[in-house]
């Protein structure tokens, strides 16, 4: 079954304040979707309603087609989540906390043992496996929480700013963990403040502000949303690339509308045709053996679009 998450007309009011306003969003398939928005936009509120921590005023959330509000137990059975920074009973060790989590999920004891070892290793907490969680720093607790959310190898993973509270090294490690999860054919829905993190990890992005969904699209289309139908892509070469090579072998490629040099080894190109157009240009560049080192859809495009969309609501 294809993993999916769906919010239908999701509304949440706290007194007179409307935190979410009829948000509808359907995410399907194995991918990583970044959930962006400024503080107070409604990101965490949305994720909390996907995990039944708070209840919608109107609307419903579904995980793998099962209503969270009507049958939370079944809906969450194949979902790992990390909302805010949960605390674990302080006298338990990470191994015991994961054992409890696995047992409550119905995992067999031998599976719990083997998966616990794997996920604790993944979050670099193996050597702390038998120490009491109460003595851990916030970052260490967050790693154990991430391990717990991955323990049952779920098809759907919901992460609420997973790198929050971690030092730069911890943040990089969490990013690597999430990136590693993507390879495993699952749906990841991750809220974040950090645009570069989303660009780095996610395939698609949903932007929310004032409780309303502003857009939901593939990351590769973000740039074209901003610049008509062209996407800005940065090319990096292993050695300096002459101007004539750029104009003869890059600017002439079908779909490329403009080429601008950034520095001797890097150039910015505008490509039409969305993700398909980018794929074709990438294939031709690779075939041309020009020493292409990287092909990155512009990060700044997301930032520009983010600011553009957010400013509309101000």
């Amino acid at each position: 079954m294809t993993p999916s998450l769906e919010a239908v007309g999701l509304t949440k009011r706290f007194g007179s304040f409307t935190a979410l306003d009829h948000l509808s969003l359907k995410i399907e398939g194995a991918k990583c979707v970044g959930f962006l928005g400024p503080n107070g936009a409604g990101k965490t509120t949305t994720l909390k309603m996907f995990t039944d921590l708070i209840f919608p005023t109107e609307g419903e959330t579904f995980i793998n087609g099962i209503s969270v509000q009507k049958d939370r137990k079944r809906a969450l059975s194949d979902c790992g989540d990390l909302i805010e920074t949960p605390e674990i009973y302080p006298s338990l060790t990470p191994r015991e906390a994961l054992e409890m989590s696995g047992a409550l999920r119905g995992m067999r004891p031998e599976e719990i043992r083997s998966r616990t070892a794997v996920v604790l290793e993944e979050v670099k907490m193996s050597e702390w496996a038998t120490q009491k969680v109460g003595r851990f720093s916030k970052g260490m607790k967050q790693r154990v929480n991430i391990a717990a959310s991955l323990l049952s190898d779920p098809e759907v993973v919901i992460l609420d700013e997973p790198s929050t509270g971690l030092d730069p090294r911890g943040m990089a490690e969490v990013r690597n963990i999430v990136r590693g999860l993507k390879k495993e054919n699952r749906l990841i829905f991750m809220s974040s403040h950090i645009l570069s993190e989303v660009v780095d990890i996610c395939d698609e992005v949903a932007l929310i502000d004032h409780g309303k969904l502003l857009f939901y699209d593939a990351l590769s289309n973000v740039s074209s949303r901003l610049t008509g139908n062209a996407t800005s892509v940065q090319l990096t070469f292993v050695r300096p690339i002459p101007d004539e090579t750029l104009s003869a072998q890059v600017a002439s490629l079908p779909g490329v509308t403009s080429v601008a040099r950034v520095d001797p080894q890097r150039a910015k190109v505008m490509i039409t045709g969305g993700a398909e157009g980018q794929a074709q240009v990438l294939e031709r560049l690779a075939a041309a053996r020009m020493g292409l080192l990287s092909f990155e859809p512009s990060q700044s495009a997301l930032e520009e679009l983010y600011l553009q969309e957010i400013s509309k609501g101000d």
Binding site: R72, A75, L76, P86, Y89, E99, S101, E122, N145, E184
Partner: protein, 299 residues
């Protein structure tokens, strides 16, 4: 992240997902881990210290004033000894245990954010509530058994063959009902507040003297039977040790100066009343607490 880190890849054709256990199985599982957390906590040590102090004072008084006729009367029979030491002390032990193990059981899930860990799992809120109730019950029982052990040790020393009267078993069972009732009430207040301190304070004030004060006011001023107050019911814990049960209503008229009279009425619950009050408290407060917990949001 090191490149050599093991993969969390799901092996082809296998799944780590089993069948999510039923409500009762999950509640028992949760209670096991919560109980383990209690056993290792400082609050457990504190509770055992409280019981040890109560038991220690009792043992000291018995040993030091052994020649006192009042003490000799107390140790003359099993009923006299346990009627005083057990029935008088176990309610205090139960109240402290309820406050210490149950006061923040639900409120703590919100305040300490442990609920974010638990509630992300495929588990119903009812299951969490029942699991935590069972854990608090088990931890409280450890304290009650510890107190019982101290009394039995004293009983064995002073009473020899009369150390284990049948009435003690009966009284113990009534104490269990009181424990259920108290924990139900504690869980209600714990669900009512998202702050552990408020929950613990309210429960401590109510059970340590609030209800007793209220009972006195209702009996003396309003002059009705305080059948709706749980501390009124706890008297029945001592009934098995009595050869004659106290009258349900006692009216006393006192003659004052210049011919003035003062009439006072005191009440004692019947067995049935005591059981009904405790059972009613347990059911109503536990259900009300669950109802609240089901509706509380992790905002």
């Amino acid at each position: 992240m090191a490149a050599a880190a093991p993969s969390v890849m799901k092996p082809e054709g296998s799944s780590t997902m089993g069948v999510v256990p039923g409500t009762l199985a999950q509640a028992l599982l949760l209670s096991r881990y919560q109980f383990r957390d209690y056993l290792r906590s400082r609050r457990f040590v504190l509770m055992m210290l409280i019981v040890a102090v109560i038991g220690g004072i009792l043992s000291f008084v018995l040993a030091y004033f052994n020649s006192n006729p009042a003490i000799q009367g107390l140790t003359a029979s099993g009923d006299a000894f346990y009627g005083s030491a057990w029935a008088g002390g176990v309610t205090i032990v139960i109240i402290f245990a309820g406050i210490i193990f149950g006061g923040d059981a639900i409120a703590g899930e919100f305040q300490n954010k442990t609920g974010y860990f638990l509630m992300g799992l495929p588990i119903k809120r009812t299951t969490v509530y029942v699991g935590k109730f069972l854990a608090a019950l088990a931890a409280s029982l450890v304290a009650v058994f510890f107190y019982l052990a101290i009394l039995l040790a004293n009983g064995a020393y002073y009473l020899h063959g009369n150390a284990f009267p049948f009435a003690l078993g009966e009284s113990f069972l009534i104490s269990l009902l009181y424990l259920f009732a108290l924990l139900g009430s504690v869980f209600l207040f714990s669900s009512l507040f998202k702050n552990s301190l408020y929950a613990v304070l309210v429960v401590a004030v109510l059970f340590l003297f609030g209800f007793t004060l209220l009972q006195g006011v209702i009996t003396d001023l309003v002059k009705i039977e305080p059948w709706f107050i749980i501390t009124y019911a706890d008297q029945v814990i001592g009934y098995p040790f009595l050869s004659t049960l106290p009258p349900h209503v006692t009216t006393t008229t006192l003659m004052g100066a210049r011919g003035a009279t003062l009439t006072t009425t005191s009440y004692n619950p019947t067995y049935l009343e005591g059981f009904a009050i405790m059972f009613g408290y347990f059911i109503l407060t536990a259900l009300a607490g669950l109802w609240l917990f089901e509706r509380e949001e992790f905002t």
